[in-house]
Subunit: 246 residues, 2 copies
Amino acid sequence: MSEIKRIEIIGRGNVATHLRNALENYSVNLINPHTLENLDRDSDLILIAVTDDAIKEVSNKIGNTNAIVAHTSGTTPIDILERVGSPYGVFYPLQTFSKDIKLNYRKIPFFIEGADNDTEVALKSLAAHISDSVYAVDSNKRKVLHVASVFACNFVNHLWGAANKILADNHIPFTALTPLIEETIRKATASGEPYSVQTGPAVRGDKATMSQHLDMLRNYPELRELYSILSESIQITSKNIRNVRN
Amino acid sequence: MSEIKRIEIIGRGNVATHLRNALENYSVNLINPHTLENLDRDSDLILIAVTDDAIKEVSNKIGNTNAIVAHTSGTTPIDILERVGSPYGVFYPLQTFSKDIKLNYRKIPFFIEGADNDTEVALKSLAAHISDSVYAVDSNKRKVLHVASVFACNFVNHLWGAANKILADNHIPFTALTPLIEETIRKATASGEPYSVQTGPAVRGDKATMSQHLDMLRNYPELRELYSILSESIQITSKNIRNVRN
C-alpha cells in the first residue's frame, strides 16, 4: 500500500475543520456532505467526518473508488463501512472540538482501526504525522473508551456544575476552584491510578464532616442525594481496594 | 495596625512547609507543634498550620502574645481561636499540597477571615503578596467552599478512578483521556457555568447509546449504578435549566 497523500474530508463540522487544520501538510479537500460535490474519488483517503447517524448514508453515496474510506466516530462500529467496496477503517481523534479553539494536535490521542492490516498501517502512519499518541483498537475497545470518557468528562462536568451551583449561590466564582481541580488531575494522571490518590471526607471515613456537609446541602435535595451516593461509592471502593491488598 | 513582617508558622506538614516557601520574602520560623520550642511571641503573625483536630490544643499552648493568631483550615470555624487573647483570623489556601511538588503560589486562591477589620486587612494584604486570588469569606462561606471542592475534586477523582478501571481492563492507559479531560475543564472554566457546556448521551437524551453503555457495564455493577444515577441527574438538571429559561 502506498502512502496517503491526497485526502478528502467529508463534513463541515468541528471535527472536519480541525482535521483539515491538523493535516495542513497534506493535500486536503473539504467536501460538503450533502452534495459530495467535487469529491475526488482518485484520492488516497476519504474521511467521513459527519454525525454518527449520517455516516451510513454518506458512505453509500461515495460510489466507485479505490481510496481508503474511514469514519471518525468513537461509537460507530467499523462494519458500517463494509459495503463501500474499497479498503475501510476508523480514524478517531479522542477530543471535544470547539470552533475557533486552537488545540495542540500532537497531544490528541488517535484510535485507529483497519478492516485489513495494510489499511490499519496506512491510517496509523497518517495519525502519527499528526499526534504522538496513536493506538490501534478494535470497535469494541473504542466503545469501552467512549464509556470511560462519559465517566471522566461528561459526568465530571456535571459535578463541576454542581460545585458551581453551590458557589454561585454564595457569590464565589467557579474559577476559585480551578487550581485545585488542575492539581487533582495532575495527581490522578501522575499516579496512573486515581483511586490510589483519593482524598476527602468519604475515603477518610470522616463521618462528622460528611454529616455536616449533608446538613449544609438541605436546600439542594438533588445535590444532597449525589453527595450520599458518591460518598458511599468511594467508601465501598476503598474497602474493596484494601481487601484486595490484604 | 502595622504591616506583618515576622511570621511564625506552627506545623510540619505540607501546608506549613509550602506556606514557608510561599512567604520566602518574609522572616519566617517553622515551629514544631508538639513543643512550640523557640516560638517568638513577639512576632507579627502566628500561623497554626496543623491538622483540624489539633488546632484547639496548639492555640491553647501559645500563651501571652500580641501577634495575630490565624489557622489555615478550610473547615474549622474562626471561633476556635476566640480565647487566644490577641487578634485572630483564618488564612486558608485552597489547594492540595504534596511534598516535593512545586506550585505556582500566585494562582492559589486564599480565603481570609479576621475577627476584626484590622486583622482581616492585615491578613488579606499578606495573602496578596503571595497570590493573585484573595477572597474575604466568613466561616460559613468557607464551609460552602469545602463542600463545593468535595464535588469538584474528591467526587471527580472517584469518577476518574472509575474510567481508569474500565480502561485498565482493556489495556488502555488513563493518560489517553488526559487531553479530553483538560479540554473539558477549559470549557467549563471559560463558560463560567459548567452545566451550560454539558455534553454526552445523557444531556442529548440519546437512549440508544445509554442503554448500550449500561449493557457494556454489566460486569461492573458498582459503575453501572453510578452511570444510571448520574445520567438521570444530568437529565433532570438539563430539564430544570430549560424550564427556567422558558
